[in-house]
């Protein structure tokens, strides 16, 4: 069996499962946010259910439109807070103690290897980086999970992605996953489990693994997953580690040599419309956004600060930086990263999904172009239907903010002699 099949089997009391089979799986952890939970709460209440299946296995995270952007959003968050209180939900994260759900939950140690996690948010697949099975669902599914602790799932076929080669400077998990989506398309893994492995992944830092699994959904994947290893163990000691058998059956195998990979950029309006950053130097930008559940982690902020130190954001460009959680915000503050961003002319905002989904705090006007470290560049995703979003890693977003156009990080000046390469910095975290 594959690692995905093993975790699913373990959660439905079977010794083995096969792709295509429907199972009713036991859920270890469930989550919802201020967009999806209100619907789920309505459904839950309509059914006059008295209690949730386990008050300590549900997280409600107001992160999309917080701090509340308008009255309607405030009402939705109010509904969540009242539900959390009424049903005694242990993990309700109020603003100021929270952050973006998919960065927050691993950081809080609430999701661990071998777990089965169901979240009413499509980027729930992020936790696969820990060797967990985690998949996004909708609100009614969340209501059902909150009531029963169970979720029906179709066992997916798995696609094996093998990556070989040492990554070049300024290239990381974001570039690998964009490259992969560019190769297989936005429907290249519909209903499938995406299993990432190979020598490159073995050396890939945890933050980059989160980024890769986070974007499995952008290829239509049910889940992204990386078998736990020493890097996982250094991140979290808890959980149960599974790995795929040598005899495991895969739908297909894709093998990529990423040793020559350049920083990748997904052009409007699909995450699969991927080109090397160096071929997009003519694209002028109006905004650069560094943040989100994809690339709002401390390592991303460090990379951006490295490029922006002593530089100025181009006068035509707005730079918006959003640390993904309060903890990351504080660490960035202590390390002096926030000072670098402010001195460069960037705006720093409190943890929120905000502009990533065109919610608030960085919406694009008609005709505007944004380089964003986020996960989707669909038409209208960050604002006006006639605005344009280019997806990249934090280094490209920072370099582009300085240049006023899409830029390769090398164009802004390389680190001084003796400065460790970004990948090595990441490994040390």
């Amino acid at each position: 069996m594959t690692i995905t099949e093993k975790i699913l089997a373990a959660h439905c009391g079977k010794s083995a499962v096969t792709p295509g089979e429907f199972i009713n799986a036991r859920v270890d952890f469930a989550l919802g946010n201020d967009v999806t939970a209100p619907f789920a709460i309505d459904e839950f209440k309509k059914a006059s259910i008295k209690r949730v299946f386990n008050r300590a296995k549900i997280a409600l995270v107001p992160d999309h439109f917080t701090p509340n952007k308008d009255v309607a959003s405030a009402q939705q968050c109010r509904k969540m807070a009242e539900f959390a209180k009424a049903y005694n939900i242990k993990y309700y994260f109020e603003q100021g103690r929270a952050g973006i759900e998919h960065v927050l939950l691993p950081e809080a140690g609430l999701v661990k290897p071998g777990d089965l996690i169901i979240g009413a948010d499509s980027h729930t697949c992020t936790y696969g980086a820990l060797g967990a099975f985690s998949a996004g669902v909708g609100s009614t599914d969340l209501a059902a999970v909150m009531a029963t602790g169970k979720c029906w799932l179709k066992v997916p076929e798995s696609i094996k992605f093998i990556y070989k080669g040492r990554l070049k400077k300024w290239v990381g998990g974001k570039d690998i996953i964009l490259y992969t989506i560019g190769k297989i398309g936005v429907d290249g893994a519909v209903y499938k489990a995406m299993e990432f492995r190979g020598p490159t992944i073995k050396n890939l830092p945890m933050d980059d693994r989160f980024t890769m699994c986070n974007m499995a959904i952008e290829a239509g994947g049910k889940n992204g997953i990386i078998a736990p290893d020493g890097i996982t163990d250094a991140y979290i000691k808890k959980g149960k580690c599974y790995s795929s058998d040598k005899s495991a059956v895969y739908f297909k195998t894709c093998e990529y040599d990423v040793s020559k990979l350049e920083p990748q950029v997904a052009c409007p309006h699909l995450p699969s419309n991927v080109k090397p950053a160096s071929r997009l130097r003519k694209i002028n930008i109006d905004q650069s956004f560094i943040g989100s559940c994809t690339n709002g982690r401390l390592s991303d902020l460090r990379i951006a600060a490295k490029i922006l130190k002593g530089k100025k954001v181009n006068s035509r460009v707005r730079l918006i930086v959003i640390p993904a959680t309060q903890k990351i915000y504080l660490a960035a503050l202590k390390e002096g990263l926030l000072e670098i961003f402010v001195k460069a002319g960037g705006a720093i905002e409190t943890p929120t999904c905000g502009p990533c989904l065109g919610g608030h705090a960085g919406i694009l006007a008609e005709g505007e172009v944004c380089v964003a470290t986020t996960n989707r560049n669909f038409r209208g995703r960050m604002g006006h239907p006639k605005s344009f979003v280019y997806l990249s890693n934090a280094a490209v977003a920072a370099a582009s903010a300085v240049k006023g156009r899409i830029a390769h990080p090398e164009e802004v000046g390389t680190p001084q002699k003796g400065t460790p390469r970004p990948n090595k910095i990441l490994q040390r975290l």
């Binding site: 429907f22 999806t36 009531a147 029963t148």
Partner: protein
């Protein structure tokens, strides 16, 4: 749910599993008939219902903005019973249940596509929006064709071209959920 049904779907051992109908059976319904509205591949949830409307769960408001970023005039021209016909990977992107809710609320009776993104697929079943997968229908039906759909048989008829297409049958597991009237809409405490 009968014991037999519970055994069939392999959940007889689960104590707290109970599906209640929400009174919207996809089967046993009279045939659907409406004008086709055509969309291409990879219609995403941001186009179906942009995030600027996600601060509400009111179907009426969501319906008014259905498909706004793919076709800004869609909500005003769609008529009750009309049918969306799209290409591959319909509903890709976010998990927002607001997407199928908006489609249903604006009067669309069924979505026919080559295939669906998985979260949208689940959500549509859950809220009782009929969806059918048919590559032939997706490719042959043109905008404004009059389409008749029998959900019991999965037959899609193009009345303009006098053609007929057979939709992929739902897996048995799903048929039981649909027959129960939309998936797990209400789960009652024991």
């Amino acid at each position: 749910m009968s014991r037999r049904t519970r055994q069939n779907i392999g959940i007889n051992k689960e104590k707290n599993w109970k599906i209640y109908t929400r009174g919207v059976s996809l089967f046993g319904a009279s045939p659907l008939k409406g004008k086709a509205h055509k969309f291409g591949n990879n219609v995403n949830t941001d186009e179906i219902i942009p995030a600027r409307y996600l601060n509400t769960t009111d179907p009426k408001i969501l319906g008014k903005h259905c498909m706004e970023d793919a076709d800004s005039s869609f909500a005003s021209k769609v008529k009750k019973g009309d049918i969306i016909v799209a290409g591959k990977n319909f509903g890709c992107g976010s998990s927002r249940e607001h997407a199928p809710v908006a489609i249903k609320a604006c009067g669309v009776s069924c979505v026919v596509a080559e295939n669906f993104a998985r979260i949208f697929y689940r959500n549509a079943i859950n809220i009782g929006l009929p969806i059918l997968e048919s590559e032939a229908a997706s490719k042959s039906i043109r905008a404004s064709d009059l389409v008749k759909i029998d959900l019991n048989s999965g037959l899609i008829r193009n009345l303009n071209k006098n053609q007929q297409y057979k939709a992929q049958a739902f897996p048995k597991f799903m048929q039981k959920i649909i027959a129960a009237g939309g998936l797990m809409k209400c789960i009652k405490s024991q």
